[in-house]
């Protein structure tokens, strides 16, 4: 059979894949040479700054920029008028990057300036006179759903009937009582998932546990603030250097917002200082381009940390209700949930994904999830690592933990009893193929951490989690250099070491050394369209495309060998970094190594390269199980995480160190979410903790070592069996820690963050009820 890029090759034996070499971009990053977003500069660049609304909700009656424009050194001042609406652009994104008539949240951009230096720009901002009429605001999701709540987008959303959590009557067996919202609604959507007959199911239950839960919004918390340098020439040709997870997305969105041909805008991604989903949209990029277009000079815009918190996407806050029924033996017979996520000032909270993930870990005959997407006067939510999943898992896994306690069952056993496996009809519809939840549960149970004896005020929690994983558009090119080394061009931004993984994959396919492959992240004019580095898709999709591109190159190299030997192409095969005659009757030629073929390339028909373009599909879902031990100080509510274990299915770990890194990083982000991280709003609807001092992400001394176990249940959708690994790790921690606290001091936290004041208050409640 003739060799081609699609030759099926499900590999199980590996030489390079699975090893832990140094990453190709590593030395630049430990020496400070790597260039991140704010490290770019263009000759003659101006400094751009954005004026932001100090109000949570206000009509903008007028904007007077004349005084700012008159200030020496100011080269451009823009408002929404300078970014006229283009046909077919995303209106919500347009409104979010620059307010049009109404400021919808504290920090909403209102105007921007470009000046010769930062001091002048700061002065100019102060000279812009904005006349506001402050409107009533709402930042809480339940408040926003109530009749009479201030309406964020008058007339935009149909009033819909919604289950009121106060009664949650539709599932409490009583007659269906629903609240009707008044005309004009903040409910942007209502979604239903599930199958079977929930009410019948609950009738079979020996035990039913139901509770309400709330989680506060948390921010992705990447250490690098958004930054870009825009340069628009008078002929309309434009360059943008930017830290983003999706340079092609930035190019296309900016072009459509500013009415430019896509071909005129070239976006070069910098090294990216963290994203976690928060850099999958645009904020300052179109503003910088508009400033540069008006000023006729390059403009650099770098957000301050407080801007990052006030106006870039945190994830949703949520209000949830979950009810699960089980038999005495722990078998779940029915599950029901109502999820309300607020997505900030615009529709699009990840409630649908939260709903689909909520019960995905379990084999349920009767399941129903109702989700609401709600708008409030908060910044537009942006994707955050497994968007929507951690909140619903917090509620569901918490209820399961309580059922296990009440039945006196082991927390892992009850999950094993109900775990989804190959052939399970998932709670969101599709039937699962080969998946690894059972394997993660068994590995967790066998781990030494699960056997450690606990002391006073100490407790252990368990939780599992699910994430879909995505694939998407991906283009890869690989060029054979004259010396036989290879240049690999990728279009997916490297957010956690993916260049190293791609080099390992290319080396594996070719049977050569890792050091002979060099990977770069290309700009948007050098490769076809690549989707954003999101959805845990990079190692899967770019890995797949790299394999196929290399196979394309192998075909061409075998072709050259065939020419040189004067035998048919299909009589040549590729092995261990060289072309070989396929079998004795092909002829007794010595193998031609990749170096020899490279050396003769020019003389035998020209340079050799391989490429592959695909809209990849088939990313296998991934499951994880976490185990956590905590100790609580009963007098202060202070909590210490003593041990933490992450067990997750990676399908196949290409570079195990960076797989572990994803597990550990996701777990600690989840720990921050449950312990201290929250968006804290004042009565006036302004954010009170827009800085790393009071938005408390975990510091080094807050956490222990994070133990990891990599489970490998191969994904049939990938030649090496790879599954995405980036996101699932943040799904279980919220419930895992909450379950541990419950077992330590008998207090169940159902409102996040479970900061010391809340834990102490809950403790005193318990003691009071005892007394």
């Amino acid at each position: 059979m003739p060799l081609d890029a699609n030759t099926p090759d499900l590999r199980t034996e590996f030489k390079s894949v699975g090893t832990r070499p140094n990453r190709p971009d590593g030395v630049d990053k430990v020496t400070g040479r790597a260039r991140f977003g704010a490290d770019f500069s263009a000759p003659g660049q101006l400094v751009g700054l954005v004026l932001r609304s100090p109000h949570a909700h206000a009509k903008i009656k007028s904007i007077d920029t004349s005084a700012a424009e008159a200030l020496p050194g100011v080269k451009a001042v823009i408002t929404y008028k300078d970014i006229p609406e283009q046909a077919g652009c995303d209106k919500d994104v347009l409104v979010n990057i620059m307010a049009r008539g109404t400021a919808l949240y504290d920090g909403h951009a209102v105007a921007a300036v470009a000046a010769t230096d930062a001091a002048v720009a700061r002065k100019a901002l102060k000279l812009i006179k904005v006349e506001y009429k402050v409107l009533k605001h709402v930042t809480d999701v339940d408040e926003a759903m109530k009749p009479g709540a201030p309406v964020i987008h008058p007339g935009r959303f149909e009033p819909v009937e919604f289950e009121s959590l106060e009664t949650a009557s539709h599932v409490k067996g009583k007659e269906e009582k629903k609240t009707k919202t008044r005309a004009g609604s903040n409910i942007a959507g209502r979604y239903v998932f599930g199958h079977g007959d929930v009410d019948k199911g609950f009738k079979q239950a020996d035990i039913i546990v139901e509770h309400e839960f709330k989680t506060e919004a948390t921010h992705q918390g990447y250490i690098e603030p958004h930054a870009c340098v825009a340069s628009v020439s008078t002929d309309g040709m434009a360059e943008l250097w930017v830290c983003t997870q999706g340079p092609f997305m930035v190019r296309d969105v900016c072009a459509s917002l500013l009415g430019m041909d896509v071909s005129r805008l070239r976006v070069t991604p910098s090294e990216i200082g963290g994203g976690f989903g928060g850099k999958t949209t645009v904020f300052i990029e179109p503003v910088a381009l508009a400033l540069s277009r008006k000023a006729g000079k390059p403009v650099k815009v770098v957000m301050s940390r407080s801007e990052v918190f006030r106006c870039t996407g945190p994830t949703s806050s949520s209000s949830m209700w979950v009810r699960i029924g089980a038999k005495k033996d722990g078998t779940f017979v029915a599950a029901d949930a109502v999820l309300k996520y607020q997505g900030g000032a615009f529709p699009g909270s990840p409630v649908e994904m939260g709903a689909m993930c909520a019960f995905a870990c379990y084999d349920l005959r009767n399941v129903r999830i109702v989700g609401y997407d709600v708008v409030t006067n908060r910044p537009k939510q942006a994707a955050y690592r497994a968007p929507g999943a951690p909140m619903s898992a917090f509620a569901v896994e918490g209820v399961i933990g309580e059922i296990a306690e009440k039945l006196g069952m082991d927390a892992i056993d009850i999950r094993l009893k109900n775990a989804a496996k190959e052939g399970t009809v998932s709670s969101y519809g599709p039937t699962f193929g080969p998946v690894g939840l059972v394997e993660t549960l068994e590995a967790a149970k066998a781990h030494k951490n699960y056997k450690v004896k606990l002391g006073k005020n100490q407790g252990r929690g368990v939780a599992s989690g699910f994430w879909f994983n995505f694939a998407g558009n991906t283009c890869v090119s690989i060029n054979l250099n004259v010396d036989g080394t290879l240049a690999l061009a990728l279009g997916t931004v490297d957010i956690g070491g993916s260049r190293a993984s791609m080099c390992l994959i290319a080396a594996e396919e070719l049977g050569i050394s890792y050091d002979d492959v060099r990977a770069i992240i290309a700009d948007t004019s050098s490769l076809g369209y690549n989707d954003i580095s999101e959805g845990s898709r990079v190692t899967f999709s770019s890995g797949l495309a790299t394999i196929k591109a290399v196979r394309d190159l192998k075909v061409r190299m075998c072709g050259r060998a065939a020419k040189i030997w004067g035998i048919p192409e299909d009589a040549v095969k590729w092995e261990n970094g060289a072309a070989h005659p396929a079998g004795a009757n092909a002829g007794g030629f010595d193998p031609l190594s990749i170096k020899e073929i490279a050396a003769q390339a020019s003389a035998t028909g020209g340079p050799l390269a391989g490429h592959y373009e695909v809209n990849a599909e088939g990313a296998g879902p991934s499951f994880a199980t976490h185990v956590c031990d905590v100790e609580v100080d009963p007098e202060t509510g202070a909590m210490k995480v003593l041990r933490y274990l992450v067990v997750q299915d990676a399908g196949k770990a290409i570079h195990p160190s960076y797989v572990e890194g994803q597990y550990q990083g996701g777990a600690v982000q989840g720990i921050g979410w449950v312990l201290n991280e929250e968006y804290f709003y004042g009565k006036d609807g302004t954010l009170q903790n827009a800085g790393f001092l009071d938005y408390r992400i975990p510091v080094c001394s807050d956490v222990p070592m994070i133990d990891t176990v990599i489970v490998e249940v191969p994904n049939p959708g990938h030649p090496y069996g790879v599954r995405g690994v980036g996101e699932t790790s943040i799904v279980p921690p919220l419930a895992c820690v909450a379950n541990a606290v419950s077992s330590a001091i008998g207090v169940r936290a159902r409102t996040l963050p479970m900061s010391p004041p809340k834990v102490l208050a809950a403790l005193e409640g318990v003691n009071a009820s005892k007394a």
Binding site: T431, G433, E534, E617, E727
Partner: protein
Amino acid sequence: MLKVRLGGTLVNKAGGRTEFEVEGANIMQMLRNLGRTCPELEPMLKKGVSVAVDGQIYRDAMLQPVGPDSEIILLPRMAGG
């Protein structure tokens, strides 16, 4: 005939109907015919949906073949972080 199940928002858009029978040899044809059978769904389908075929979720692969025995479920468009 293909059996197509709906999930999420699509159900409300389709007036509560959760299953349809339509013709089609691949996802694109299936969606086109579904749109004809249930015009209320058109806008959503245009906006983009994910399609789960036998457990595998496809966001864009319109030419993915489907058959009478395929398990086909329409889901909301999904994205990750």
